[in-house]
Symmetry: C2
Subunit: 348 residues, 2 copies
DNA sequence: TCGTCGAATGTGAACAGTCACATGACTGCG
DNA sequence: CGCAGTCATGTGACTGTTCACATTCGACGA
C-alpha cells in the first residue's frame, strides 16, 4: 500500500535552494494534489488518516511553513490585531500588551504594536495609517484615547476597536474596568482615615482612565461632603510628581494626596522627604496601579491593584466578539485596594 | 488636457462594496495599465509627470492602499522585523523597542514583538516559531540571550539577528554597548570612595548583559586588588532585591552593594531602611540603567545611564547591514556614571 | 532615410495559497 | 441492479502585486 505513489524513486526531491517549500512541493512529495495538502493544513474533516500522515511526513521532510502572505491574499484576512500605545514602558500597559499578545496568539492571531511618540493629531493619524497598512483586523487603543477616537472617526477606519479603559459612555468599544470605583475606593480610604483636605494629582485629561479616576475622586469626595480643590493635571511621570509635590508643600494646606498613578506618587514621596516631612505621619499618599516596585517605595505605597493581564485578555475577547458580530457583555473587573504604609490618620 | 481620458463619462466607477480598490481599479480610473500604476507606487523614474498625477488622483479618489499581502507574496519580503523580548515592561527594553519601531518604520519596515512568558526552551522555540511564521526578515533579541541563541542555531533560522547587548565574542550579531565598561565605572566609583567589601547583586546569568556586568565588576575589583565574594544571582525584580538585602543584612559584612539593575537596587534600599540603617551613611548602593524613577528613590540612586534609544536605532542599522551583506562597524556606546545620593565614603 | 537607442507604457506569467465545483469510489436502500 | 448520497480527492480560477519581457514612439546620428 505504500509503493504505489507517483514516482517513488531515488530522487529525494530537492527544491531550488533559495525557495521555501510550497504546498505544491509537499503535494508532489506526498503523492497527492495540492488541495489535499491544503486540507491537511486546515484540518478538514474528510481526509483519510493515512493520507494525512503521508502529507504530514512530507511537510516535516521539506520543513514546510504555510506562507502567511499567500493565505492573507486569498482570504483577505490578516489575522493580525494592532495595538496603539503611547507609554508602553508603564507597568499597566506593558502587562496588558503581553496578555493581549498571548490571548491573540491562542486564536492564531498576531499582534503589531505601534508606539505613539508624540500625541499631536498628525502622529496619531500617521500611526493609525501604519496600522491600517498592516491590514489589522482589530485595534486596541492604549493611548490618549479621546484624540485617537476622533482620529479613527475621521479616517473612517472600518475596524473594530477596543479602548483599554471604560469611557463610561460607549457600548461595545469600551472595556468596562471600573476606574471610577477604584478611585472611589482609595478616596474613601483616605476619608475614613479622617482626612478632610485631599489633593488629587490627576493624569493627562485626554486619557480616559485619568479622567475616570478624577471623576471617581470627585464623586466620592462630594458624596462625603468633603470640600475639594481643583485637581492638578500631571503627565504620569515621577518627575512631574516630584515637582508638583514641591509646589504643593510650599503651602501645606492638605493632609493627603491621591496620585493617579504610582510613578507620580513616587515623585510625591520624594518631595515630602526632601521637605523634611514624613509620610504617612505628616502626609498620606496613595497611588494607583500597583506596579511591582510600589511595595518597595519609602514607605511602601498604598494603592489600587488592577488586573492588567485580565484586562488584556478581555480586550481580545471583545475584539473577537465584534469581529463575529455578537455582543460580548463582560462583567466589569473590580479593582482592589491595597493598604500599605503610606497612609495613616492625619496628625491633628 | 484633462478630458481626453478613456470613457470620462458619467460613471463614477464604483467597485463592489466589500472589496478594497486594487491596482487594476486604479488603472481603469486613471486610464492606464496596471503596470503603470505599480510604477507610480514604487516611484519608478521613467513615468511622465502628467500620467503620474492622473494615477495619483485616481488613487486618492478610490482610497487606494497597496495590499501588503500581495506584495509580500510576490517579492517574498515581509518588510518586518521581529523582536523577542521577555521583560518588556522594564524601562530599558521598552525604550529600545520604541526606538527600534521608529527606526524600522522610517525604512518602511514594521515590527512584531513577541513576549517570552516562560524562559524554558519549549517556549523559546515556540516564540521563534511564531516569529518565523510572520516571515520576519530580521530579529532583535532582548531576552535570556544565550538560550535563545542556541535555539536559533537548533532551528537553523536563516535570519539575521542582533542581540541587544554585547556578547563580547560574537561578530556582527552583537551590538557592542560596553556593559563591562559601565560595570567597571560604578565599581571604580565605589572603590574610589573607599569601599573594600562590596557585594554584587547580579542578574540572571543567561542574560548576556547580566553576565557582562558581572564580568566588569569582577575585573575592576581584581584590578584594584579588592577581594570579592561570590555575586548573588537575582532575577531583576525589586522583590528579589528586597529579599536578598534582608538576607545580606543579617551579617552586614560589607559597606556597599552594586546591583545589576535599578529595580533590584530599590528593593535593596527598602531592606536597608527596614533594618534601621541609612543609605548612604551605613551602606552605599548603586544601580544600573537609570530608569526614570531612579532619581526619586530614597535616596536618589547613583547609577549608570545607558542610551537605550540609541541602542534601538543601532539594532536596526545593524540588521539592515546584515540584510545587505555589508559589515557595519558601529563604535561602541559608552555608558555614563550618574552620581546621586545613594553612595558615600564608608563610615569606618 | 534608416537603423538604433531610450523613454514611456503594456502584456503575460508567476507567487502560494483558498474556494467552488467536478470527479470517482464506495455505501445503503428500494 | 440501479440510483442517490456521502467521502475522499482533484481541477481550474482567482486574490493583488511585481518581474521579465514586449511594444510603441519620437529623436538622433550615420
Amino acid at each position: 500500500m505504500a509503493d504505489d505513489d507517483t514516482g517513488g524513486d531515488a530522487t529525494p526531491f530537492e527544491l531550488p535552494p533559495g525557495r521555501a517549500a510550497s504546498i505544491r512541493d509537499v503535494a508532489r512529495v506526498a503523492g497527492v494534489s495540492y488541495q489535499t495538502v491544503s486540507r491537511v493544513v486546515n484540518d478538514h474533516p474528510s481526509i483519510r488518516p493515512e493520507t494525512k500522515q503521508r502529507v504530514l511526513d512530507a511537510m516535516e521532510q521539506l520543513q514546510y511553513r504555510p506562507n502567511r502572505a499567500a493565505r492573507m491574499l486569498v482570504t483577505s484576512r490578516s489575522k493580525t490585531f494592532g495595538i496603539l500605545t503611547s507609554n508602553r514602558h508603564h507597568y499597566g500597559p506593558a502587562t496588558s500588551i503581553r496578555a493581549i499578545e498571548e490571548a491573540a496568539q491562542e486564536s492564531g492571531y498576531s499582534v503589531v504594536t505601534k508606539n505613539l511618540t508624540a500625541t499631536d493629531d498628525a502622529s496619531i493619524v500617521q500611526a493609525l495609517d501604519h496600522l491600517a497598512d498592516q491590514a489589522v483586523e482589530g485595534l486596541v487603543i492604549i493611548a490618549p484615547q479621546v484624540r485617537v477616537l476622533t482620529a479613527i472617526e475621521r479616517l473612517s477606519l472600518r475596524v473594530p476597536y477596543v479602548t483599554l479603559q471604560s469611557t463610561g459612555e460607549a457600548g461595545s468599544h469600551a472595556l468596562s474596568i471600573d476606574q471610577v470605583a477604584g478611585a472611589r475606593l482609595v478616596t474613601r480610604h483616605l476619608i475614613e482615615l479622617g482626612h478632610r483636605s485631599i489633593y488629587h494629582l490627576a493624569g493627562p485629561q485626554d486619557w480616559i482612565e485619568a479622567e475616570a479616576r478624577m471623576r471617581g475622586f470627585l464623586a466620592e469626595m462630594s458624596d462625603n461632603d468633603v470640600p475639594t480643590t481643583a485637581p492638578i493635571l500631571g503627565d504620569w511621570t515621577a518627575d512631574f510628581g516630584y515637582r508638583a509635590g514641591r509646589e504643593l508643600l510650599r503651602f501645606r494646606d492638605f493632609t493627603a494626596i491621591f496620585s493617579s498613578n504610582d510613578q507620580m506618587a513616587l515623585g510625591l514621596l520624594h518631595a515630602v522627604r526632601e521637605a523634611g516631612l514624613d509620610c504617612p505621619r505628616d502626609i498620606s499618599i496613595v497611588g494607583f496601579d500597583d506596579i511591582p516596585e510600589a511595595a518597595h517605595f519609602a514607605p511602601p505605597l498604598t494603592t489600587i491593584r488592577q488586573d492588567f493581564a485580565e484586562i488584556g485578555r478581555r480586550c481580545v475577547a471583545l475584539l473577537f466578539a465584534q469581529l463575529e458580530g455578537r455582543d460580548a457583555d463582560l462583567p466589569a473587573i473590580e479593582p482592589t485596594l491595597l493598604v500599605r504604609s503610606s497612609t495613616a490618620r492625619p496628625a491633628f
